[in-house]
Amino acid sequence: MRSGIAILLLVIVAFGISLALAEIPFGSPKTKVGRRYIDEGVEATGAANIVTSVVVSYRGFDTLGEVTVLFIAATGLGAVLSAGRKNTAGETEPASVVLYTGCRLLFPLILIFGTYIFTHGHLSPGGGFQGGAIIASGFLLIYLGCRERRISRTASDLAESLGGLVFVVVGLLGLVFGRYFLSNFLPKGTVNTLLSAGIIPIIYIAIGFKVGSELASIIDNLIEES
């Protein structure tokens, strides 16, 4: 009965969506703003990766909001799980030698790779969000392999707060030295070199630290609950 009504509803929804999609041809250029970002983005921001220049420069304020959403979700998860937590430090079986050794070997490499991804966000595919997710996956590996190890809560809180602070302070400095919040006041340098694109690498490194420590603290909270 219930699934019948649901299927009927979904058929109506699918019909509506397909009517709308028939008007959107696949594979043709649609937005003028995207074209303009591609044509003028490198000149205006100095970043070779147009997606990065959209995320950090053109829509930097939007990204600040999204980072805030992530922060609120991580804080809410911590608050929900820490309320009324029974401190049951259960005995954990040690992981096998292969897993343990593999984790210890791979963890620094994963950290280096994540750092590479978020420092080169303006040059190659990648950026703060992706690099942060890679770093958090390294911490997840540590939790799987070396179960007695814990990340320091103070250090992850510090990295998270510093990341957010650097983002906002760089934006405010743009207000002081430039004309508007998050304006690119540093010299843009040569395109396709590491030290280019002004404030974009700084902001992406801050986002990388913030996202990495937030996702790691989410993992930490969820593992502590189990």
């Binding site: 043709s28 250029p29 937005t31 970002y37 147009i50 959209v54 969000f129």
Partner: protein, 119 residues
Amino acid sequence: MDFLNSYIYYIGAVGLILIGLYIILVKHNLVKAIVGLGILDTGVNLFLISVGYITKGTAPIFSRPGIDSKDMVDPVPQALVLTAIVIGVAILALALSLAIRLYQHYGTLNLRKIREQKW
């Protein structure tokens, strides 16, 4: 065949969205509903990316000089989806933490049984 070739990404994305909606509407298990939310999220992301795709397009990165900017795909949906994926992960984690608390409070994840109980 031509129709399928040109619309396969739309079909896949809308299919994922509908599957996710169906799971959310029908399933009584809270964890399954959250999984449905994740599938719905993936479908929306795939839909946004496929709207921005341009046939035979390349990534919008000027990684070497002299690259042709005419073939590049639309960067705006990619930038939106990039953040939406991370936000989606955080929302899933938050929903799962609420499910953990609900299970500890009621002893069940069945939404119908939870509704019958008193607060």
